[in-house]
């Protein structure tokens, strides 16, 4: 057996190292290490409760809005306030913009360049794909960055800037969209739709959203111009619809009032989510050991010299079990036909995870167009939300890469405890005290690795769209 350390595992958000035990060219065991500790839960303790809104976005540069939304939700629960309809719509639009832009960033900048590696030269799709996706020089980069930057202009209108806005408040949004701005925002959505339809999908959003099975998607992609159909041809040639299976248990907190919350398992199907069953285990993290704790009672105490530890990431578990989160989880829990068919065939896979992001682009953008139409200029966007001196709040939201939760308690107006479970904390969790590996650690087992192996590990790791800076908040 040989041990391989893969790092810096780049083109992910933040720092990642993957350690592989390889036997006869196959991965026998994997350990995922988050080698950076950021300590935000300690930064927050003792600060004024409202200050969380300025601090938590800075946990993460790629899902800062999701962090804001989680904090705003937790504080809204504390204040007992529900934002007015315009405030809810504005928040949904801001969150959806970040999430869809992140899907685009992931596909074009983080995930696809691996298919342009020389290891694939000679494959029937290689020349076309390498011309499009070679890192920083492929022809896809410019138009994608343009589309992404223009799409973020929505946040310029709705939240001042991205990342790190203070627009999301417990009582709604600080920015009341004017009638004139509402017209501009709709135009920006049309512009982004044109890019997704013309360049990414090669079809209308509605037509792709109607594709409901693996077989139908294969037929749909055949000969179709568009970057996602191009990926599908490469992925099918490489069998990526069968690779990268983790636990096949999926968690979603629900998003935008469009996708419900729930837990999905292959035998039982959909179950109601009970956030009270979430715990975090620190057995293999460089953190003080103890029984797994629910986040509302969680602790983050550094123990950098701990034996058997290999990461700064805790191991969150739902009812003691390993679960996966992300776009695929959201779509499974929502009962989306294509996502369900893909998982029914080969479980969670590289192709299923990437396809789920495309499903979200195709289904959330039309919803965003409706939300903008539903905004009533002149009606309020924000209500006062005075906080109590003491109490507890929970904010559960969906970031692009999955379920994000904030658990906080305040005493005399100051933060007493602040615990965060980020999406990649779930997906890239280490082993727990029962030695059960986390989702990625399971997904890598059996894959080819070592000298001369194809870059399969690269695809599987990045198919989760990891965000390590969140993981190690």
């Amino acid at each position: 057996m040989t041990r391989i350390q893969l790092g810096p595992f780049n083109r992910v958000e933040g720092d990642l190292e993957v350690s592989l035990d390889v036997e006869a060219g196959q991965i026998a065991a994997a350990r995922v290490n988050s080698p950076l500790f950021r300590g935000f839960e300690q930064v927050l303790v003792g600060r004024l409760a409202e200050d969380a809104l300025a601090i938590v976005p800075r946990i993460c540069g790629i899902c800062s809005v999701a962090q804001s939304a989680a904090a705003a939700s937790a504080l809204a629960e504390l204040a007992g306030v529900t934002p007015p309809p315009n405030g809810v719509l504005a928040r949904q639009l801001i969150q959806a913009t970040e999430n869809l832009a992140d899907h685009l960033t992931h596909f074009y900048l983080f995930f696809m360049p691996d298919f342009a590696r020389p290891a694939y030269a000679g494959r029937p799709w290689y020349d076309e794909l390498a011309a499009r996706f070679t890192a920083t020089r492929g022809t896809a980069g410019g138009p994608m960055l343009q589309a992404r930057a223009r799409f973020f202009n929505l946040i310029g209108f709705l939240a001042g800037r991205w990342p790190h806005t203070l627009a999301l408040q417990p009582g709604g949004s600080t920015k009341a969209l004017s009638a004139a701005e509402r017209i501009r925002v709709l135009a920006l959505l049309r512009e982004f739709r044109a890019f997704v339809e013309g360049t990414l999908l090669g079809d209308s959003l509605e037509a792709f959203a109607a594709v409901d099975s693996w077989g139908q998607m294969q037929a749909w992609a055949a000969g179709r111009p568009g970057d996602f159909p191009l990926f599908l041809r490469a992925a099918t040639d490489l069998g990526l619809e069968r690779l990268g299976r983790a636990t096949d248990r999926f968690l979603s907190y629900g998003a935008y009032g469009l996708f419900p919350a729930g837990l999905w398992r292959p035998e039982q199907g959909l179950a109601t989510l009970d956030a009270g069953r979430i715990t975090e285990d620190t057995r293999h993290a460089w953190l003080a050991d103890g029984q797994p704790l629910p986040p509302a009672a969680g602790e983050t105490v550094v123990n950098a010299e701990k034996a058997d530890a290999y990461t700064w990431c805790k191991a969150p578990r739902y009812a003691g079990q390993v679960v996966e989160t992300g776009a695929l989880a959201r779509q499974l829990v929502a009962g989306q036909a294509l996502a369900s068919d893909l998982v029914a065939r080969h479980g969670g896979s590289v192709t299923a995870r990437v396809s789920a992001r495309m499903i979200e682009l195709a289904t959330v953008l039309p919803a965003m167009e409706q939300w903008v139409r539903a905004i009533v200029p002149g009606e309020p966007f924000c209500l006062p939300a005075p906080l109590p001196e003491s109490g507890e709040g929970i904010g559960l939201v969906e970031a692009a890469r999955g379920s994000l939760g904030h658990w906080l308690s305040i005493r005399r107006g100051r933060i007493e405890r602040y615990q965060i479970i980020a999406p990649t904390t779930w997906n890239f969790s280490p082993r727990d005290r029962d030695a059960t590996p986390g989702p990625l650690e399971q997904a890598l087992i059996g894959l080819p690795a070592g000298d001369g192996a194809p870059p399969t590990v690269q695809h599987v790791v990045r198919s989760f769209d990891p965000c390590m800076v969140c993981t190690v908040h």
């Binding site: 595992f9 080698p35 950076l36 950021r38 300590g39 946040i155 006062p384 800076v469």
Partner: protein, 332 residues
């Protein structure tokens, strides 16, 4: 080509994400045509693992020439000076060691973002257990990882492109200025920030200026009035051109309806008061414009408040204009 080597450490990656929002031209086209190329960037380059470490090692031992070292994120020296809070993946050596070695080879060193420049949020936990600092500053005190005396091969201290996050234009323009005619000490302000954006105040060009002039203040979130008197805005003290150089097309913090928290300034993360509340003494904001005598400000404020038009007074406390500017008939 100006070769840029980029590393990330104790930060959120938001400055890279912001950089990718560069407009109007796509970032890759913009930089390439200005003669600027990424030698390696953790979020953008194809090289991973050993290939990436090979590039970094060649840069650190002088075999691979490069021009600009961009570091994004605070330097984490803890625990107990070990640097273990951030070890280079695949390598196991502290990032702080890598940064020190690479900085010794770089012609210029850029600190991307306020964490990298001054320490930022990572350095604010009581007692600073992360032992976090900036590249050449601890807050506003020179020092940091590289020390106050550090000068890169190009003869400059660390260039602090501060901001949380940085505006894409601040990075792009600083790189392009360097590529065009170099950078000198005269291009930087007292805390190392490029004057091309730090010679302005956030206040300049603020769309709420009429409310400021009349001291017509917002009282609650989403109000249109000036955010300085009640809601914590530091736009009159913060160095940056955020309201002249729009964010994400047409935005700024003020246009988004929330206060400037002075994220380009050393120590912004610990203001000593609630971020979204203005501290006052005897009803007068403590943080007045830095270069204006307080007595004058108070006198002018009293005068302008007494002269505030009804339109400005009423609109200041609404989330949309409730009184329009009067339309005069021709000849009147």
């Amino acid at each position: 080509m100006l070769k840029v080597l980029w590393l990330q450490s104790g930060g959120c990656g938001g400055c890279t994400q912001s950089l990718l929002c560069a407009e109007p031209r796509p970032l890759f086209d913009e930089l390439r045509d200005a003669g600027i190329d990424f030698l390696w960037h953790p979020a953008l380059s194809v090289e991973s693992g050993d290939e990436a470490l090979g590039i970094l090692e060649a840069c650190a031992d002088g075999r691979q020439a490069f021009d600009v070292l961009c570091i994004e994120g605070a330097m984490l020296r803890g625990p107990n000076g070990s640097g273990k809070f951030h070890l280079m993946a695949g390598d196991g050596r502290p990032l702080t060691d890598w940064v020190a070695r690479l900085a010794a080879r770089a012609r210029w060193v850029f600190a991307i973002g306020s964490c990298t420049a001054y320490g930022g949020l990572s350095a604010t936990t009581p007692g600073n257990p992360l032992e976090a600092c900036g590249l050449q500053y601890d807050g506003d005190t020179p020092g940091g990882l590289l020390g106050a005396a550090f000068r890169s091969a190009g003869g400059l201290p660390v260039v602090n492109i501060a901001g949380c996050p940085t505006h894409p234009g601040w990075i792009v323009d600083t790189l392009e200025k360097l590529a065009l005619d170099g950078l000198s000490a005269a291009d930087l302000d007292e805390v190392g920030r490029p004057l091309l954006y730090a010679d302005q105040l956030v206040h300049h060009g603020c769309a709420r200026n009429e409310y400021y002039e009349f001291k017509a203040s917002a009282e609650k979130h989403s109000d249109l009035g000036c955010l300085m008197e009640n809601l914590g805005c530091k736009g009159t003290q913060a160095h940056a051109d955020c309201n002249l150089r729009p964010w994400n097309g047409n935005g700024s913090c003020l246009k988004g309806g929330f206060a400037c928290i002075a994220c380009t300034e050393p120590g912004f993360e610990s203001p000593g008061h609630a971020f979204q509340e203005t501290p006052k003494l005897a009803g007068i904001p403590i943080g007045l414009p830095t270069d204006m005598p307080k007595a004058w400000f108070v006198a002018l404020a009293a005068l302008s408040k007494s002269a505030t038009p009804k339109r400005v007074r009423d609109n200041a406390v609404a989330d949309h204009p409730v009184v329009r500017p009067a339309v005069r008939k021709q000849g009147k």
